[in-house]
């Protein structure tokens, strides 16, 4: 009974959400309120208002590039792919971390769009932030498959790793991360804790942890089992609500913590055991 009520609420809310998202706020021009400051020159931040013409399909990045091209060429932005693949153009748009190239002007209410640099990243200039620490946290997780059983030098004994679609599904969504840092910017723990790896890094730890080609299970657990590690996540869910690629970092973090708490079985270990039983 209650399940049905929950489902009903869910469909209703999702429908409302989708309608809100799909509702076009038609406009022919917007005012971009752009956060400006060159930190290394010691400038104090201020906002520049720039009016740009827009069309139905204009993204915030398009609008910014228009402003840069025709109004003020000194605006600092970082972008590359313009298609939500490279993860360069993350910024706070109307207060929420989003990809500029993935946010259409027509989905935003009002005729003023405020763009600011991502919070929780050191600010460099205008909309550009420094990702050094963010990437360092990612690297701490040793983000590559490690397999002690394989010996790359003995090429004649190399075999391919067999993975079933189910094995793949276990980590696939986490591997879609483009390191855009939106989750890192939304996370309340990252907002104060400089040692916390953040949702991106922790969900990558789970991505390799749950990959059945990877054998560094124990080591991965040890990396995140730290005073400022995975325990500093309190499931505020904000990372997953801003992630533009459906990575759902909060899910990865909780699943990984389930293993640390001993709530969850380790499929890899079970598979290994079955393998051994077969062999014996």
């Amino acid at each position: 009974m209650s399940e049905q009520i929950i489902e009903k609420i869910e469909t209703l809310e999702k429908k409302r959400d989708r309608e809100k998202k799909e509702k076009e706020h038609v406009k022919t021009s917007v005012v971009l309120k752009v956060f400006r400051a060159n930190r290394s020159a010691g400038e104090n931040p201020h906002f520049d208002s720039i009016e740009v013409p827009v069309q139905r399909w204009t993204t915030v990045l398009d609008a910014l590039l228009h402003a840069k091209q025709y109004k003020d060429s000194s605006i600092g932005i970082r972008y590359s792919c313009r298609m939500a693949s490279c993860g360069s153009c993350g910024m706070k748009i109307n207060g929420i971390p989003r990809l500029a190239c993935y946010t259409k002007v027509s989905e935003l209410e009002g005729s003023t769009i405020t763009v600011e640099p991502l919070a929780n990243f050191p600010h460099l200039r205008d909309l550009v932030t420094d990702f050094t620490q963010f990437f360092a946290h990612h690297k701490e997780m040793k983000p590559y498959v490690r397999n002690d059983d394989s010996d790359m030098k003995q090429t004649d004994s190399l075999t391919e790793y067999v993975q079933s679609p189910e094995d793949l599904d276990r980590f696939l969504q986490f591997s879609y991360c483009i390191k855009c840092g939106l989750c890192y910017s939304a996370c309340p723990t990252v907002a104060t804790d400089t040692k916390f790896p953040g949702p991106q890094a922790l969900s990558q730890a789970y991505r390799y942890f749950s990959d059945n080609r990877d054998t560094a299970t124990k080591e991965r657990m040890d990396i995140v089992d730290d005073k400022h590690g995975i325990w500093r996540c309190h499931f505020a869910g904000s990372c997953s609500s801003v992630c533009p690629k459906g990575v759902d970092p909060a899910l990865g973090i909780q699943l990984l913590r389930g293993h640390l708490l001993g709530f969850s079985r380790n499929e890899k270990k079970i598979a290994e055991k079955q393998e051994r039983l077969k062999r014996d």
Partner: protein, 109 residues
Amino acid sequence: MKIHYVTGLGALFVVAVHIMMRLIMPYELSLEYENVIANYHNIPYVILLESILVLIAIHGFNGLRVILLELRQSKAWEDGVTILTIAAMMGIVAYGTRTIIIANGLGFE
């Protein structure tokens, strides 16, 4: 953090019993001196009170420690926070235990 989950669940159980005790008789009556002192003579109830004291002190001050740890990350701050919250935890447990022991020794007048 495991300790936080365990003490949280433990606290839930003992606090539920503790509140029930306020409600099995009229609320005002349950607070009368004689009745309260009588509680402290009831050994199972004393054990309950002591476990509430310990569980909630651990859970609460560990929670505070977590909040403060996330606030600032220097060695001095982290060590200070840990020492202070553990000291406060022990202080509260000691003070509460003192009440329980003395009240247990008090007679009815």
